[in-house]
Symmetry: C3
């Protein structure tokens, strides 16, 4: 795996000089402003295909050479993108098969972006050609530090070729139609296939209800995208083996959920560096800054965990976005707070979309370091400049990585897809929201957490939280059992171990492995309407149970909490099971956070999970994250409130921004401020 070779935090972001080639004064101004703002990195080439190859086979790289020259003159870095995110018009005209077919069977016309057919041989060939040219031409540039392939992959196409590739994918996977018919349980609704060519992609004009087929389609889309990605990477690796490769990943929606159109856990194996585009709804009127910060924190931990190494926030806005219902700009202080948060969690820089605002078209009003008017007077520019100064002061910290977490939460793409597709329980199962709710305890108590996939190594964790794990393969359950038997602690919940990896129900009894781990078996899931609830008594604590309440068969578990109402009054709701050297805790119902908090508080004490920091805080509005290397620990302390807060420093630490050593209870941290304290090991 090729590493990112830098000795300072990256500061900069997406830059589209091709929009300004006719106005060199703009380019001059840009680089002057970059320098003044301590910007050291530009991401170029995203969507530049029409300028790089204006006519088929006619490559014009000179304008980009000039940009490299300018960057190198300021001793900066270039992240070079491959241009496949949007094709030139000539290519769509000559090869219309590169355009995507929608699920209604209608082929799109030229326009938009991120909408190519992921199978088209000619598109792959054209991408391979230009990537090869780019690698040959720019591969030796000393400023080139990273390949940024394409942009925000999110492909799905229903053309005949993609359908044919779906069938090939199924043939590779199942070998025989009998296997496929069993896995998809096609005896249901008379859906038995007697020949491969009877199979079409699921969709509104064909089939939507077959769970196995739907899941395989999700997997195929990832598989086919990986094959597209590998084709992109192949010439880069061949010609520039020392330049690492990334692609920018996504999260979105009101709950800032990780993008699940593609299995990022699988894709990450084909990349050297993980990067993502972070666009939270800072400053909204339905959540506090602290709450928004928690949503982002979870994502940062997710992306860091993909390869268990530092990552990059590849895009973030210096002020506002342009696609929310309300596009509010970051409030004063929020820029530094948010960018430092990412760094605290393992980002090796602060990169923006965009450095220079486009003069026209879709994203012209997306926030930019350099705005259309009075660029040097905007809050965004001042915030960026200030952050640049800060990053310079702490540049030694870049060679650190995050404290190894003792706690992991499992998120599985197969499970996410299967839950969304399972037509039972209730229509919104809130898988990601539930992950976030369990995460919250650790966030509020400054305990590092990894967000891992089912294929990750479990052995280094003291505690694994495995919520709503509806779809579990045999292999996964074996691994989980081994982990617990060897002394691990696992917390499982309602709606787990229901189906295998073909979305076929486990029959007769709950899988043996889970019985061993948890000592119980779920019997019935009571699904509640929004205004209905039960309550659970645990010791002296009563908590609210809602949405899902399972009844359990108890084989060997200790009952910690019991239901207080309804036909399952006094039945076990929370259990604990000793399994060889480890423990399996089971939460049979969805619990209110105050209850979860107490639950995890006890667990963390019992298993000694909480790290001992030389910093005491007096409010949850303060968060503490640690990055360390062999010699030092760096404590990133952030104040998510707008008020000044007090800290106690219990061991001598150095303030990284000013080098002053401090200890005692006089430390103050201002609203939205970030402090970094250095501790020698």
């Amino acid at each position: 795996m090729t590493k990112l070779n830098i000795n300072e935090f990256l500061h900069g972001g997406d830059y589209n000089p091709e929009q300004w080639l006719d106005t060199p004064e703009i380019l001059n101004q840009d680089f002057a402003l970059f320098k003044a703002a301590n910007i050291n990195t530009v991401t170029v080439g995203v969507f530049s295909w029409a300028k790089l190859e204006p006519k088929e086979g006619n490559y014009t790289f000179d304008w980009l050479d000039d940009i490299f020259d300018r960057v190198e003159k300021m001793h900066g870095h270039v992240i070079l993108a491959t241009p496949s995110g949007a094709r030139p018009a000539w290519l769509a005209k000559k090869y219309p098969e590169v355009l995507r077919v929608d699920s209604d069977g209608i082929r799109r016309k030229f326009g938009g972006r991120h909408n190519h057919c992921i199978s088209s041989p000619i598109y792959r060939q054209k991408v391979h050609e230009i990537n090869t040219k780019l690698a040959k031409h720019f591969g030796k540039r000393k400023s080139l530090i990273l390949w940024h392939i394409s942009n925000e992959y999110s492909s799905v196409c229903y053309c005949d070729l993609c359908q044919e590739n779906f069938r090939k994918f199924l043939q590779r996977k199942y070998h025989t139609l009998d296997n496929l018919n069993h896995a998809w349980w096609t005896t249901f609704w008379s859906h038995y296939y007697d020949s491969w060519d009877e199979i079409t992609a699921p969709g509104p004009k064909s089939e939507t209800g077959n769970k196995g087929m739907n899941l395989d389609w999700n997997r195929f889309v990832t598989d086919q995208s990986i094959s597209f990605i590998d084709n992109e990477i192949e010439p880069l690796k061949k010609l520039t083996p020392n330049i690492p490769v990334t692609t920018n990943m996504m999260a979105g929606g009101a709950e800032l959920k990780v993008f699940n159109g593609l299995d990022y856990q699988k894709i990450s194996k084909h990349l050297d560096i993980i990067s993502w585009d972070s666009y939270p709804d800072w400053g909204n009127d339905y959540q506090s800054t602290y709450q928004v910060g928690m949503k982002v924190s979870l994502l940062n931990d997710f992306y860091r965990s993909l390869k268990h190494q530092n990552f990059l926030v590849m895009e973030s806005t210096p002020s506002r976005v342009n696609w929310q219902n309300v596009n509010r700009a970051k409030r004063p202080g929020m820029h530094e707070l948010s960018e430092m948060q990412a760094i605290a969690h393992g980002s090796d820089g602060a990169l923006y979309f965009q450095l220079r605002a486009s003069r026209g078209s879709s994203e012209m009003f997306h926030g930019a370091v350099i705005e259309h008017r009075h660029p040097q007077m905007t809050r965004a520019y001042h915030d960026v400049k200030k952050l640049g100064e800060g990053l310079l002061k702490i540049k030694d910290a870049v060679k650190t990585s995050y404290v190894k977490a003792k706690v992991a939460i499992v998120y599985s793409y197969d499970n996410d897809w299967a839950l969304a597709n399972c037509e039972s329980y209730s229509s919104d199962k809130k898988y990601w929201t539930t992950i976030k709710k369990h995460y919250r305890y650790f966030y509020e108590n400054d305990i590092p957490v990894d967000i891992i996939g089912p294929d990750d190594d479990f052995s280094s964790y003291k505690l694994i939280i495995d919520p709503m794990h509806f779809l579990m393969s045999e292999a996964y359950m074996n691994k989980l059992r081994t982990y617990v038997k060897n002394g691990g602690v696992v917390v499982g919940t309602y709606i787990s171990g229901v189906v295998d990896d073909n979305v076929l129900a486990y029959m007769d009894e709950w899988p043996k492995q889970l019985q061993e781990v948890y000592g119980i078996e779920p019997l019935e899931t009571d699904v509640l309407y929004p205004s209905q609830s039960n309550s659970v008594l645990w010791g002296n604590t009563t908590g609210n149970a809602y949405d899902y309440c399972e009844t359990l068969i108890n084989h060997s578990a200790e009952v910690l909490g019991t239901y207080q109402h309804d036909f399952y009054k006094d039945i076990a709701a929370i259990t604990k099971n000793k399994c060889s050297e480890g423990y399996g805790y089971y939460l049979a119902c969805r619990l209110s956070y105050d209850f979860l908090e107490k639950f995890y508080h006890d667990l963390v004490l019992k298993f000694d999970i909480k790290p001992d920091y030389p910093i005491r805080k007096y409010t949850k509005q303060i968060t503490i994250q640690v990055r360390e290397n062999s010699k030092y620990r760096y404590y990133y302390v952030q104040n998510w409130s707008t008020n000044t807060q007090s800290l106690d420093i219990t061991e001598p630490l150095a303030d990284l921004f000013n080098g002053i050593e401090i200890i005692g209870n006089k430390e103050r941290i201002h609203g939205y401020e970030t402090k970094i304290y250095l501790q020698r090991k």
Copy 2:
């Protein structure tokens, strides 16, 4: 009309052994569990086409023979379905014209169910062939009691052939284009047709606003479906003339409205037995159990009235469904309460979807008697077993039919379609909700009601309620007048008699027949916004009037109630008219229920409509339904509350479950309990 020949209540339901042919231990377990739960009936063959005819012309019935053998060994019954609800993949591949074309003109691909073209000659031929084979092969089986043709018919297709058949339907109906142009009033918007081939089906890509055309399209879809159904039935009747035929009908939506994609009143004439699939939202958080029970009661009465004979609940869930936003299971006691309710209203059994949960695909999590895991331990299985025991105890009651109702409410499909399509008044006219509101009085007062169509015989009813009868044919109005003149009592309401059966407005004056019946003429309908209302004074009672308030021209009616506000203050709102031997009551406005209650209370007293039961109740949460035969009356008393309630028994009655005779005021009925009292005539 062929009768259902049974001497016990049917107990069982949909069973898909074809999913388990490779696991005979499952089949063995199933039949052991059936026996233990007093299940005596299996519905097989629904969606089994691919197993019955895996390749074209290659029939494999042996596996189903085995199931018949097993059923007969336990002296049970088989309901055999024809498989047209879902076609095999080979059939769709070889004959793509069997696949439906959507209203956008795009033909669907293979997948789903209930989505064949209803015109396709080859599909009809293939269905006819397999139905013939099934009848030949299984027709002599002693366990075969009922044909279940297809499943939940709900067809509409826009292919060229269906369009051609629509035109033929129109030619048969109108003979000349002049007739059609007049009926559709095509002078409006220049829509005059000069040749039949200019006519296309209404839809989003053609015409949506022509009311006559839309209504004829609705009628055509029913007509074409009946022709499809007749084709299915033809070989069954020929080969097994003594086996009755049914198909399962539907209701749905938040208000549990009867399915109105097809005119069930017309279709029922082509069937021997009526059956329906009953899936209420028991246990929700927006209605009481009592209120949900009323919704279902109305449907049971509707389906019983279709042929004025006992019916079957063909599907119901033993626990939960899988397609609601919140799929809550029945609470303890609800299973017996709900299944006994259907029997009280005339169902000859309790049948479930499904006996054994599918292991995969769309409905795998729909409630089942036999669930995936620990099937004998589930609440559902215990509930089913308990009900089975109860049904055995009351098996003598199966040969009874319902008390003939003296009250009928008219529901007309043509009217429902015309109201939905009339672009006036307000967008949601609440026709079914209004029927339910009038029904409520009778439900709460244990007065049997039939829900009849405009073509039904009126002569046996003392009271006919005819709400919102916007579209009335001349024939209907003549019939209504005759009924009233002969001593009948009718209650009509606002928005009645507005258009004829071509949805052409009645001109000049209100139809003479209605004037005679009601003695008034509606002049203007004041349409109110949701927060607006008027009030009506009747004697000392004031009630709320909302949504619709008509002003009337009074020819001969007695004014019972008058408006209290607005420009129609003091004008008649409720009238009563003597018409020969009968009476016509007219409610000119939509009234609050408390007012309707008083209105019907007076009417019921005046016309001696309330039956005199030997049972007194002290709360509306108790309902009483009667089934009777020549010798006995069976009183089904049900407690819709969760509390124990008291009853007074005023004549000696026998408790059918334990044979004990009772009289007096000490009778107790537990929460959700059903009592059946036997009274010798």
Copy 3:
């Protein structure tokens, strides 16, 4: 420009005798009822094509001759429509290319109306032919006073020919692809076009995000519609040069926004007379009558301003519409109040849709002067008759035109489109709502206002309000500067002068012209969530600021108000700038109405804008509008409350309805009453 030559108010409306040719008694009844109700005008021919040309080239005009005869017999007027709003079935069958293609690329089938291809040569030819025939046949009729071309133009079509015409439009506009690529800023997302045929119309299956392209598509649709309109008008002008031409325009939606599918300001140049269809939601439960009246008032002013001459309300309902969620009829008195309101604002008549209700099809339940049943007994008929009597009494007033307004509010179609399409700020920018809010002050204070376009002459106005003028051309800004320099007063707001007429951002600084006018430059627009706000202090008044708060660079302006909170506390929020002889006021934030009211109150006083009427009112529920000619002023005083109100008459005036002269403080005006006072100049 041809004038409408009438000497009485037009009273009548849409009439479809072709629906009743088989029932001459209906036609006789109609004309008897017209006469009794003082109806003097019928609009005929809308949607009559199938009756006028039942087969291709076979014209049958005799039935319409008869209608002309009948009208002329009663000395009435005919407005004759061209029939292109709906084509006959034979035409669609023979020339399917006349049917529109939707944005999904699917061509529609026959049905509906207003859905022809606006490019189709054959459709244009057929329209030209029938228009020629109509003009030849009816052009000499003395009753013919106005051509009503087509109906409610609202065309957009995506067929290949329209796409080709779009490209031609672009070629005419840009001449070279370089120009187009620059204007559309196609370097963004690699959208550079190297050949014209690569360009397709924007839409869901191609491109939606290019702002320049979207705006040009909007302009093209107007341009292509104008070319269609010109083709319609050409034979009419040639054959009947003295008959003016109109087409009926629209407004709609909950806020009664002017239709913006076509640029009416451009189209108006091709018409002689402006007319519009006025369908407010009178009597709803979310706004007072006074508030609904204000919405309509604004529209009347908009349509009058299109050509700065009197206009016509071409359609209005005598009672109710049939397409709202709740179709409530006008309350007593509302008909006169609403029709007189239009006349007060410059309408030369009261015209209805429809005179006679259709017996069937889509609009059969739309309110009509003559309803289906007991037509002479309806409220609508009585209201119409009463209004007819009133119009007769005031017929002398028809030769007046509206008082020339000293105040204008700018509404720009380009700006409306660009704002809707700008993907920034917040998703609903409320442009029309903002115009209405500024308008409110003048409405409540009886100050006449014009609603003008950016190309209108500014010189006659004392005050121009120019809200949210996001897109401004250089020409516009020059004009605005000249206007102010010459002594004009302008009020501008947040989100103005951001982009040029290609939707390209103004770079470097705010346009010089605007700096000169306002003495400031906007720097950042703070976009607030719905529950967030700031406040502004101006003198002793504090007002709420919400949605948008800009920060300003102040060059030379006087600061009138400042923000009170957040990072821009104490920064200028309201400024005033002296610019040569005039003033530029800038409102940097969206302000609550109470604040705007005070702002305009001061402005109106300062610049002596309020006319001095000889009438004093004591409530805002009274409105006063003036129409005048060289000799007289007519004061239209309307009472929007249901209570009687007092007026003081300070100079002798004559009540136009009864001729009585009045002065003093005893005048009473009843609820919903209209008084017209005559003042000799």
